[in-house]
C-alpha cells in the first residue's frame, strides 16, 4: 500500500510530458497495477467475510443445546479448599509468564450441562442470567483468550453464584472433570451467596482444591488474604430501578434501616435508638399486607405507611446494613446506589474489594456490640465528610457494583494487579471519583526536598546568530558561583558556531549543541549534557541580570524545585467582552507565568515538555515560533497545581535601542498572538491550569535598612 501512494502521486505529473506511445504504455501499466490491487483486495476480504459469518451462525444457540455430561458416581471429588493457600503456593504463576501488556489471559470453559447418573442436573437454575452476563463481559474484555494453552486463569462455566441452587457434591465432581482442572490450579470461581442452613458458612461449601474464590460474604477466617477476592452480592434491583442521580447533601432522615428480617435483638436495639432520637431515624420493615414476590421486594412499611424501596434510600444520609445469617448483603449495593452512606454492622466481614477500595472513605464500620452507640458515632462525623462519603459511595457503586460486568472485571483487575504488581493500579486510580481525578494533581516531584547547593545548575542558552550578545550573556552568567555548566543550543543550521578560540574563557565546561532544525522546542530538550537537576533557560539577549540575581534565583529554585522560578512575570486575564483569555505584560500586581527567557526549572520538566506535552501544543509552538514559554508554564502548572515564582524586582528586559513606534506595532501583534496561544493551550488542556499569585520572592533583607555589604545578595534590583 505504501508503494502505491508514492507512485500514484508521481505518475500524473509525468504524463503530459510523455509521448503518446509511452503514455499508453504507462496507462496500461497503471491499470494493471490497479487491477492487481482490486484483485488482491477481493481475494483478501471476500472469503473471510464468508468464514466469519459462518462462525456467527454456529455460535448462536440456546443454552439448552449445550452438551450434556453425565457424572459417574465414582468420579473424584476435589479436596476442600486449603486455607493456607497464597498466590505463591497455590497459584501457578508460570502460566501467566511475562506479558508485555501486563494483562493476564483468561480462558472460559465452553458451556456444558452436568447431570448426575440419574439425569438430574447438578444445579436447579443451570446457567443464571447474572453468570452469563459475567462470562460475556469477561469474554468481551482484554483479558479474554480462547487459546487454552496461553491462559493464565480459567473460569469454569459452571454457575456457582448461589449455593442454595447447587448440589454441592455433584458440583464439586463436575469441577474436577474440567479438562484443565489440575487440582483447581489457576481456576477462579464466582460465588455470591455462600453457605446453607443451619450454620451458613461464609465461603462456598463446594470442595474446590486450590481454586481461587471470588466470594461475597467472606469472613476474616475464611478469606485467604491476597488469594481470594471479596466481591459484592449483586443486587438485581439496580437493573430494574433507575434512581435519579442525587447530589450529596443533607437529607430528610439521618439514619435509615430498610432491611427486612433483622434479628429481633438488633431490631429491639434499633427501636430503642429511635425512641431516643425520634424522627432522625426511620425503621422500615416488610409490609405485612403484601404477598410475596417482586412487588413486596419493592415496598417497605413503617406503621402502616408504605415506602418505595429502594427510592426511600435516597432520602437518608446513613443507611444501616446489618449482617444476617450471611455476612454479605445485597442491600449494601442498593444503599451505595442511592448515594447513602452505609453503616456496616457485620463483625469479621471482609468488605467487597477491600484489597483495593478504601472503605473508610465511603462507609462507617461499627462493631455489632456498639450498635447502641451508632447515633452518637454518626453525629460526630462532620457534614462535609458525610457529603464526601455520599459521593464516594455512589462512585463505588457506579464503578464496581453496578453490573455483573463491573464486578467481574474488577475481580480480574485485582488478580492482575497481584500478578503484575509493578503495573498495578494506584490507590488514587481505584478510589478517586472522576471529579477528584479530574481536579487533583499529583506532582511528580512531591517529596519536600531542598536539594543541596553543590551540584549547581546548567545554563542552557538558546541562540540563533547573535554572537556578540551571546558572548556577553555567557560572560555574565559565568560569574554566578553555582553555575556548573554552560550549554549553548545553536539553532542556526546555515551557520556554524564561532571557532573555539573565539569563545569567552569561562571557568565551567561549555558545550555547544547544534540542532537539526530551527525549532523553539530545542530549548527544552532533555540533553544528556544537562547533568544537574536545575536548568537555567536563558535567551541570548538577557544581559541585564546580575550575578547576584541569578545566584539568588537558583537559591529560590532550591526551595521550590517543583516550580518555574523566573524573572520577568506575566499574567493571563479573562476578557469579559471577548469571552476569552488575554495575555498581559503590563506592570500588574499579579503573576501567573514567568518567561523562560530567564528561568530556573527542574530538568524533569524537559522530559515532560519533549515527550509528554498534551495535544499538538509542541507542533503549534514550533510552527508559530512563539509561545514556548507559555506552553512550559501551562505544563508545569497543570502537573503540579502550583504557581510559578517570580524573583526579584521588575527590570527592563527590552532592548533600549528599539524605536518606540516600531516596537509598539510589533508589540500589538505579539500580544494578539500570545493571547491566541493561551486560548489554544487552555482548550488543549481542557482547563486553565495557571494559578495567579500576588507575591514575588526577594532576598530576606531586600531594601531593608541594613549595611549592603552584609547582605548575601546586594546587587539586586538595579535596572
Amino acid at each position: 500500500m505504501y508503494a502505491s501512494g508514492k507512485y500514484g502521486s508521481r505518475g500524473p505529473a509525468l504524463i503530459p510530458r510523455m509521448k503518446t506511445k509511452h503514455r499508453i504504455y504507462y496507462i496500461a501499466l497503471f491499470s494493471l497495477v490497479l487491477l492487481g490491487l482490486i484483485a488482491t483486495g477481493m481475494f483478501q476480504f471476500w472469503p473471510h467475510s464468508i468464514e466469519s459469518s459462518a462462525e456467527w451462525t454456529l455460535e448462536k444457540g440456546s443454552v439448552h443445546d449445550a452438551p450434556l455430561i453425565r457424572l459417574p458416581v465414582s468420579s473424584p471429588i476435589p479436596e476442600r479448599g486449603d486455607l493456607s493457600c497464597r498466590m505463591h503456593t497455590c497459584f501457578d504463576v508460570y502460566r501467566c509468564g511475562y506479558n508485555p501488556k501486563n494483562k493476564i489471559k483468561v480462558y472460559i470453559y465452553p458451556l456444558q450441562r452436568f447431570v448426575d447418573e440419574f439425569g438430574v442436573p447438578i444445579s436447579s437454575t443451570g446457567l443464571s442470567r447474572e453468570y452469563n452476563d459475567l462470562l460475556s463481559a469477561i469474554s468481551d474484555s482484554d483479558f479474554y483468550t480462547d487459546d487454552v494453552t496461553r491462559a493464565c486463569l480459567f473460569v469454569p462455566s459452571i454457575d456457582v453464584l448461589n449455593q442454595n441452587s447447587l448440589r454441592v457434591r455433584d458440583t464439586a465432581q463436575a469441577l474436577a472433570m474440567l479438562p484443565r482442572w489440575d487440582k483447581g490450579m489457576n481456576h477462579l470461581l464466582f460465588n455470591m451467596l455462600p453457605g446453607g442452613p443451619p450454620d451458613y458458612n461464609t465461603a462456598l461449601d463446594v470442595p474446590r482444591d486450590r481454586a481461587l474464590l471470588a466470594g461475597g460474604g467472606f469472613s476474616t477466617w475464611t478469606y485467604r488474604q491476597g488469594y481470594d477476592v471479596s466481591i459484592p452480592v449483586y443486587s438485581p434491583l439496580s437493573t430494574d430501578v433507575v434512581l435519579p442521580e442525587r447530589q450529596p447533601g443533607p437529607r430528610r432522615y439521618f439514619i435509615l434501616s430498610s432491611q427486612t428480617a433483622i434479628h429481633r435483638e438488633y431490631r429491639a436495639e434499633l427501636e430503642r435508638l429511635k425512641e431516643e432520637n425520634g424522627d432522625a431515624l426511620l425503621l422500615l420493615d416488610k409490609c405485612s399486607n403484601l404477598s410475596q414476590g417482586a412487588a413486596s421486594a419493592r415496598k417497605r412499611c413503617y406503621k402502616g405507611q408504605v415506602y418505595d424501596y429502594p427510592q426511600i434510600l435516597q432520602e437518608s444520609s446513613f443507611c444501616v446494613v446489618l449482617r444476617g445469617a450471611r455476612l454479605g448483603q445485597a442491600a449494601l449495593s442498593d444503599v451505595l446506589q442511592a448515594g447513602c452512606v452505609p453503616v456496616i454492622l457485620a463483625d469479621s466481614y471482609i468488605l467487597p474489594f477491600s484489597e483495593v477500595l478504601d472503605w473508610k472513605r465511603a462507609s462507617v464500620v461499627i462493631p455489632e456490640e456498639k450498635l447502641s452507640e451508632m447515633y452518637t458515632i454518626l453525629k460526630s462525623i462532620p457534614h462535609r465528610q458525610v457529603e464526601e462519603m455520599q459521593r464516594q459511595a455512589y462512585w463505588f457503586w457506579e464503578a464496581y457494583f453496578s453490573s455483573m460486568k463491573a464486578i467481574g472485571l474488577t475481580t480480574l483487575q485485582i488478580i492482575n494487579d497481584r500478578i503484575y504488581p509493578y503495573a498495578a493500579r494506584t490507590y488514587e486510580q481505584w478510589n478517586n471519583p472522576p471529579v477528584v481525578k479530574w481536579s487533583s494533581v499529583n506532582s511528580p516531584l512531591f517529596l519536600p526536598l531542598i536539594p543541596p547547593r553543590a551540584p549547581g545548575f546548567t545554563a542552557v542558552v538558546l541562540t540563533y546568530d547573535r554572537v556578540e550578545s551571546l558572548f556577553r550573556v555567557i560572560t555574565e552568567i559565568s560569574k554566578v558561583p553555582s553555575l556548573a555548566k554552560l550549554l549553548v543550543v545553536w539553532n542556526n543550521q546555515n551557520k556554524s558556531p564561532p571557532e573555539e578560540s573565539l569563545w569567552p574563557k569561562v571557568g565551567v565546561p561549555l558545550k555547544v549543541v547544534r540542532t537539526k532544525e530551527n525549532k523553539l522546542s530545542n530549548r527544552f530538550f532533555p540533553y544528556d549534557e544537562i547533568e544537574t537537576e536545575a536548568v537555567l533557560a536563558i535567551d541570548d539577549d538577557i544581559i541585564m541580570l546580575t550575578s547576584d540575581e541569578l545566584q539568588f534565583g537558583y537559591e529560590v529554585w532550591r526551595e521550590f524545585p517543583d516550580r518555574l522560578v523566573g524573572y520577568p512575570g506575566r499574567l493571563h486575564l479573562w476578557d469579559h467582552e471577548m469571552g476569552k483569555w488575554k495575555y498581559e505584560s503590563e506592570w500588574t500586581n499579579e503573576v501567573s507565568m514567568v518567561l523562560t527567557g530567564a528561568a530556573f526549572y527542574h530538568k524533569y520538566f524537559n522530559y515532560l515538555y519533549t515527550y509528554k506535552m498534551p495535544g499538538d501544543i509542541k507542533n503549534w509552538v514550533d510552527a508559530h515560533m512563539n509561545c514556548e514559554d507559555i506552553a512550559m508554564n501551562f505544563l508545569v502548572a497543570n502537573i503540579t497545581g502550583k504557581a510559578p515564582i517570580k524573583v526579584t524586582p521588575r527590570k527592563k528586559f527590552k532592548c533600549p535601542e528599539c524605536t518606540a513606534i516600531d516596537g509598539l506595532s510589533l508589540d500589538q501583534t505579539h500580544m494578539v498572538e500570545r493571547s491566541e496561544c493561551i486560548n489554544k493551550f487552555a482548550s488543549v488542556f481542557g482547563t486553565m491550569p495557571l494559578k495567579v499569585v500576588e507575591h514575588r520572592a526577594d532576598p530576606v533583607l531586600y531594601k531593608d535598612d541594613f549595611p549592603e555589604k552584609l547582605k548575601s545578595f546586594p546587587n539586586i534590583g538595579s535596572l
Binding site: 444457540g61 504463576v93 442470567r129 469474554s139 428480617a261 438488633y266 553543590a454 497545581g641 532576598p699
Partner: protein
C-alpha cells in the same frame, strides 16, 4: 534515448513493485488473517444465547432481601466466637477486650509496661522499644487504666542459640497479674526459631496476645490482628533518625548499577534456593550479585564450585567500599547536628559535610553504590524450587551460548507430564516468554517433538547480527536507573543469624527495593501500600526480574524513589516511629470509626502526624489540598492573645482589632484573655464588622494554641496584643498563606544555628540573610497545627513552655517544620514592627527580660532533643507583593501601604 531509459527504469520499478506488492500481499494476507481471527475472538467468544432473556436469576429478590436468619442470638454468637476463634485464629473481635479501652472515650488508648524484674537483662533494641512507649503520649503507669499491655521481658530474640534468649517464658508470663491468656497484650519480636529452619515459633505460648513481629510469614500472620514490623538493628536510632539519602530528584537517575544484591548466600537450608540462583541474573555490567558463602561455622562443608570466586569478589568489593573495613552500609547520619543544618557555617560547607557524612555511598559511579535489592527467603514450594533451578541452569546456558553461535540446538529432555498438563508446553511457553523479553529479536525458539510427547528439543536460533545487538544495548543504557538495595544484617555476630529482613536501611538509601519475598507479610502491610513504593517480584520469576526492572519507566522510578523516602521518613527512620506506628495501627483498629484511611497513611506527611481525633475528613487537614483538587479556605480567624488588662482605648490591642477587622478575609476575631484580671465587659470593646469572641485562656502560654471549637476557618491568624500591623499587610499575608497552606506564614523572622564551640544549637534574633522560624506573634497557619500542638507534642514540652512562659512560638515552628520538612514563609512587612516601646505603666513586655533570650536558646536545644533531630529548615527568601518598591506609580500598586517606611 534518455526518455526511453527513463521508461525502462520506470517499468522495471513498476514490475519490481508489483512483485513486491504480491509478496508483501502474502505477508499482508497473513497479517490480515491474524487480525480477522483476532477480531473473531473478540466478537463472539462466549455465545450470545438466543434465550438469554429467559435465563433465570441467580437468586430471587426475596431470597436476597429476606435473610434466612438464624435462631442464634447475635450476642450469644459473639460470645461463642471468642471460644472458637482463639490462638492462631485470633482476630480483634474475638481475642481483644475492647471494654478495657473504653474508660475515657478517645483517651481510652493507654499502654502499660510491666516493670522488669531486678537483674533482668534487656537487650539494647528492646530497651529502646520500651523507652519509646514510656515516652509516648499513650503511656500509663497504672495497669487498671491500660488498654494494652507490653511485657517487661525481652522477647525480641527467640533464637535458642542466642545469648539474649530468655528461658521459662511460659511460667514467667503466667505470673503476670493481668496476663489473662494474653488478651490485650502486645509482644514484640524480631527473630524467631533457630537454625536451620527459623520457624515462626516463639518458644512460648503467645495465646491471644498481639504479635508485632519482623519477617512475618503470611501463613502465620493473623490478619487484622498481628502487626508486621520492620527488622531493625540495635544501632537504629531511638529518635529522629537520619533522613533518607535521596537528596535530589535527578532524571534520569544516574547510577552505575541497575540492580544489585549484596549479602550472604545461604548454601543450604531456608533461603538458600533463590540466593543460590541469583548468579543467573548477574551479568557483571549493570546487574550485580555479590554473595559470600561465609556463613556459619561449617559453610565449607556445603561449599560449591562458585564459592571461592564469589567470596573473593565479595571481599574485594567490600574493601573498596569501606577502607576502614567496617560495612559501610551501617553508616547513618551522625548524631547531634544534622548535616542539613550546617549551611549556617557557610554556603559551601553544607554540601561537603553531607558528602562526608555518608562516605563513599553518595558518589555514585566511582565506588560501591547503595546496596540494592533485598530479598527475604521463605521456604519455596518444593516443585518450584526444583524447577527454578533447572530452568535457571538451562537459561544461563542459553545466555552463554546464544550470542556466538549462529544456530545451535540445545537438547533438553525432561518428562514433563509431571506438571503443567499433558502438552508439556508450559515450560517452553515460559522459556519463550522469557526469551521474548530478554532478547526479543536475538533468539528464536522452536519446539520440536521427538520420540513422543514427553521429550522435546528446544531449538534456539540466533538470528541477528552483531551490530544490531549493539544498537539495542545502547537503547537499554538510556533506561538505566539506580534501583534498589538490600541490606543484610552484617552486625549480628552470632554464628547463625536468622534470615534478616531489613527494609529500613534499604528504603533509606534512596534506591528502590526489589522485593523477592514470597510469603513475607511486609512491614505495616495493614496501612502501607507497598506496591506504590517498591518493585515486587516473585521468587519463582527470578529470571524475569531484570526485564521487569528495566521496563520501569523513568517517571515511575522518580515516583518510587520519592515514595520509599517518604515511607522511610514517616515510619522507619527511628525506633520511636516504628513503635508508634505499631501502636497507632492497633489504635486505629480499636477505634475503627475514628481512624485514618489509607490515603492518610500513604501520603505526606504520613499517618503519625495525622490525628484522626481531629477529623477523619481529608479536607480538614492542611496536607491534602492538591491531592483532592480543592483549595484552602477564603477566610481566616484572628486569635489575639491578650495578657495585659484593658485600661485605655488607646492601647495597641484596640488599634489591632480595628486593623484586623477591616480585612475583607477576616471572618471573626477571638480574644484569648490570658490576663490575671477578668475580661472587660462587652461594651468596652469597639464595635466591629465581624463577630468578636472573648474566651478565657488558662493563664498558660500554651493555651494560645488550644484548638478552640470557635475556630471554624482553616486559617488562623495568631496575634500578640501589641502587634502593629496594617490591614493590607494582613491581606497580603493571607493571600500568601493560601498558596502555602501547610506552612506558617508570618512577619518577624528568627533563625537557629549550630554553635560548634558549645556543641549546641543557638538562637538568634539578629537580622540575617536567612531565617528558619517566624514568630507567631503575627502569623498565619492552619488550625490543624493547634490540634497537633496540644495533642501530638508531649506534656513535658508543653510544661516547659508554660513554666518559662516562653518559646511557644519556637515549638510551633519546630512542629510545623517537622510535619512539612519545609521552612516557614516570611512576608514583607513595614519595619517598625514591635520597635516601638510599650507605653509606660504597662508591664514591660516579656521579651525585654534579659534571661528571655537565654531561655529561648535552651528551648531550641530541648525541642531538638525531643524530636531527635533539628527539624527547622532555613530559607533565604521573603515574599513581597509583585510590585514591591518597584519604580512605578503608587497608584498601580495594590499594597502601597507596605512601602511607607
Amino acid at each position: 534515448m534518455q526518455a526511453r531509459k527513463k521508461y525502462v527504469l520506470l517499468g522495471l520499478c513498476a514490475c519490481s513493485w508489483l512483485v513486491l506488492f504480491y509478496c508483501g500481499g502474502g505477508v499482508q494476507l497473513r497479517v490480515l488473517r491474524l487480525i480477522t481471527r483476532h477480531r473473531a475472538e473478540v466478537l463472539h467468544p462466549w455465545p450470545n444465547w438466543t434465550d438469554r432473556a429467559f435465563l433465570p436469576r441467580y437468586a430471587h429478590l426475596d431470597e436476597l432481601q429476606t435473610d434466612p436468619g438464624t435462631a442464634e442470638s447475635p450476642r450469644q454468637r459473639r460470645q461463642a466466637w471468642s471460644t472458637i476463634y482463639r490462638d492462631s485464629r485470633c482476630r480483634m473481635e474475638t481475642c481483644f477486650d475492647f471494654s478495657r479501652c473504653r474508660r475515657r472515650g478517645r483517651e481510652g488508648f493507654r499502654v502499660y509496661i510491666y516493670p522488669s524484674e531486678k537483674g533482668e537483662r534487656v537487650s539494647e533494641s528492646y530497651r529502646k522499644i520500651l523507652a519509646s512507649i514510656s515516652e509516648s503520649r499513650y503511656y500509663t503507669s497504672d495497669p487498671r487504666e491500660a488498654c494494652l499491655f507490653v511485657l517487661g521481658i525481652d522477647t525480641l530474640d527467640r533464637d535458642q542459640l542466642s545469648g539474649q534468649f530468655v528461658p521459662n517464658m511460659d511460667e514467667r508470663i503466667r505470673s503476670y497479674p493481668s496476663w489473662n491468656d494474653g488478651r490485650n497484650h502486645l509482644i514484640f519480636n524480631l527473630y524467631s526459631g533457630t537454625w536451620p529452619n527459623y520457624t515462626e515459633d516463639l518458644g512460648f505460648n503467645v495465646g491471644q496476645a498481639i504479635l508485632a513481629k519482623a519477617s512475618l510469614n503470611t501463613e502465620y500472620f493473623r490478619p487484622g490482628f498481628d502487626v508486621s514490623i520492620p527488622l531493625f538493628s540495635k544501632d537504629h536510632p531511638q529518635k529522629g533518625g537520619g533522613r533518607g539519602w535521596l537528596l535530589r530528584n535527578t532524571t534520569p537517575p544516574r547510577r552505575k548499577y541497575l540492580l544489585m544484591f549484596k549479602g550472604k548466600r545461604y548454601l543450604t537450608g531456608i533461603g538458600s534456593d533463590t540466593r543460590n540462583a541469583l548468579h543467573h541474573i548477574h551479568n557483571g555490567k549493570d546487574i550485580v550479585s555479590m554473595t559470600t558463602c561465609r556463613h556459619g561455622k561449617d559453610w565449607e562443608k556445603h561449599k560449591d564450585a562458585r564459592c571461592d570466586h564469589d567470596n573473593l569478589e565479595y571481599e574485594r568489593r567490600r574493601r573498596r567500599a569501606s577502607p576502614s573495613g567496617s560495612p559501610s552500609v551501617r553508616l547513618t547520619a551522625p548524631e547531634g547536628p544534622n548535616p542539613q543544618a550546617a549551611p549556617f557555617a557557610g554556603p559551601s560547607m553544607g554540601s561537603s559535610s553531607q558528602l562526608k557524612a555518608v562516605g563513599p555511598f553518595r558518589s555514585s559511579s566511582s565506588s560501591f553504590p547503595p546496596v540494592l535489592f533485598f530479598h527475604v527467603w521463605r521456604p519455596l514450594h518444593q516443585t518450584w524450587t526444583s524447577e527454578l533451578t533447572q530452568r535457571a541452569g538451562l537459561l544461563s546456558d542459553l545466555q552463554q551460548r546464544s550470542p556466538e553461535c549462529g544456530s545451535k540446538f540445545y537438547k533438553w529432555r525432561k518428562n514433563i507430564s509431571g506438571r503443567g498438563g499433558g502438552d508439556g508446553g508450559a515450560l517452553l511457553r515460559l522459556l519463550r516468554g522469557w526469551l521474548q523479553v530478554n532478547d526479543p529479536p536475538h533468539l528464536l525458539l522452536q519446539q520440536i517433538n521427538l520420540e513422543g510427547p514427553g521429550q522435546q528439543v528446544i531449538r534456539v536460533t540466533s538470528r541477528i547480527s552483531r551490530e544490531e545487538e549493539e544498537e539495542e544495548e545502547e537503547e537499554e543504557e538510556e533506561d538505566l536507573f539506580s534501583s534498589s538495595c538490600s541490606r543484610l544484617d552484617e552486625e549480628k555476630l552470632r554464628s547463625d543469624p536468622p534470615p534478616p529482613v531489613s527494609a529500613p536501611l534499604c528504603v533509606q538509601a534512596a534506591c528502590i527495593p526489589v522485593l523477592l519475598s514470597n510469603g513475607w507479610e511486609l512491614p505495616f502491610s495493614d496501612v502501607i501500600q507497598w506496591n506504590q513504593a517498591v518493585v515486587e517480584g516473585d521468587e519463582r520469576l527470578l529470571l524475569q526480574v531484570p526485564s521487569t526492572v528495566r521496563a520501569v519507566p523513568n517517571q515511575r522510578v522518580l515516583e518510587l524513589r520519592q515514595r520509599t523516602q517518604m515511607l522511610w521518613d514517616a515510619y522507619f527512620s527511628s525506633v520511636d516511629k516504628i513503635v508508634l506506628t505499631t501502636l497507632e495501627i492497633i489504635k486505629d483498629r480499636i477505634f475503627s470509626h475514628i481512624s485514618r484511611n489509607k490515603y492518610m497513611w500513604n501520603s505526606l506527611p504520613g499517618g503519625l502526624l495525622v490525628l484522626p481525633e481531629f477529623s477523619t475528613h481529608l479536607a480538614h487537614f492542611p496536607f491534602y489540598y492538591l491531592g483532592l483538587g480543592i483549595s484552602s479556605g477564603h477566610e481566616f480567624t484572628a486569635v489575639i492573645h491578650a495578657v495585659s488588662p484593658l485600661v485605655s482605648q488607646s492601647q495597641p490591642i484596640m488599634k489591632l482589632l480595628q486593623v484586623v477587622s477591616k480585612s475583607k478575609y477576616c471572618s471573626q476575631i477571638i480574644i484569648l484573655w490570658n490576663c490575671e484580671k477578668p475580661p472587660p465587659s462587652r461594651s468596652k470593646w469597639p464595635p466591629m464588622p465581624v463577630p468578636l469572641i472573648v474566651t478565657e485562656g488558662r493563664r498558660k502560654t500554651t493555651s494560645r494554641f488550644l484548638p478552640h471549637v470557635a475556630i471554624e476557618t482553616e486559617a488562623v491568624l495568631s496575634l500578640d496584643e501589641d502587634t502593629v500591623l496594617l490591614t493590607s499587610e494582613v491581606n497580603f499575608a493571607f493571600l500568601v498563606w493560601r498558596s502555602f497552606p501547610d506552612r506558617i506564614v508570618g512577619y518577624p523572622p528568627r533563625s537557629h544555628f549550630w554553635d560548634p564551640l558549645k556543641q549546641a544549637w543557638g538562637y538568634t534574633s539578629k537580622w540575617t540573610n536567612e531565617y528558619s522560624m517566624v514568630l507567631t506573634g503575627a502569623a498565619f497557619y492552619h488550625r490543624y497545627y493547634n490540634f497537633l500542638f496540644s495533642h501530638f507534642l508531649p506534656q513535658s514540652l508543653r510544661a516547659l513552655v508554660d513554666r518559662t512562659a516562653n518559646c511557644e512560638d519556637i515549638l510551633m515552628n519546630f512542629l510545623v517544620s517537622a510535619a512539612t520538612h519545609l521552612p516557614p514563609v516570611k512576608v514583607a512587612q513595614r519595619k517598625q514592627y514591635k520597635e516601638v516601646l510599650p507605653p509606660q505603666g504597662v508591664n514591660s513586655a516579656p521579651w525585654a527580660h534579659p534571661e528571655h533570650f537565654a531561655q529561648r536558646q535552651d528551648c531550641v536545644n530541648a525541642f531538638a532533643s525531643w524530636f531527635g533531630y533539628m527539624p527547622l529548615v532555613h530559607s533565604q527568601l521573603r515574599l513581597d507583593p509583585v510590585l514591591f518598591k518597584d519604580q512605578v506609580s503608587v497608584f498601580r500598586k495594590r499594597y502601597k501601604d507596605l512601602e511607607r517606611a
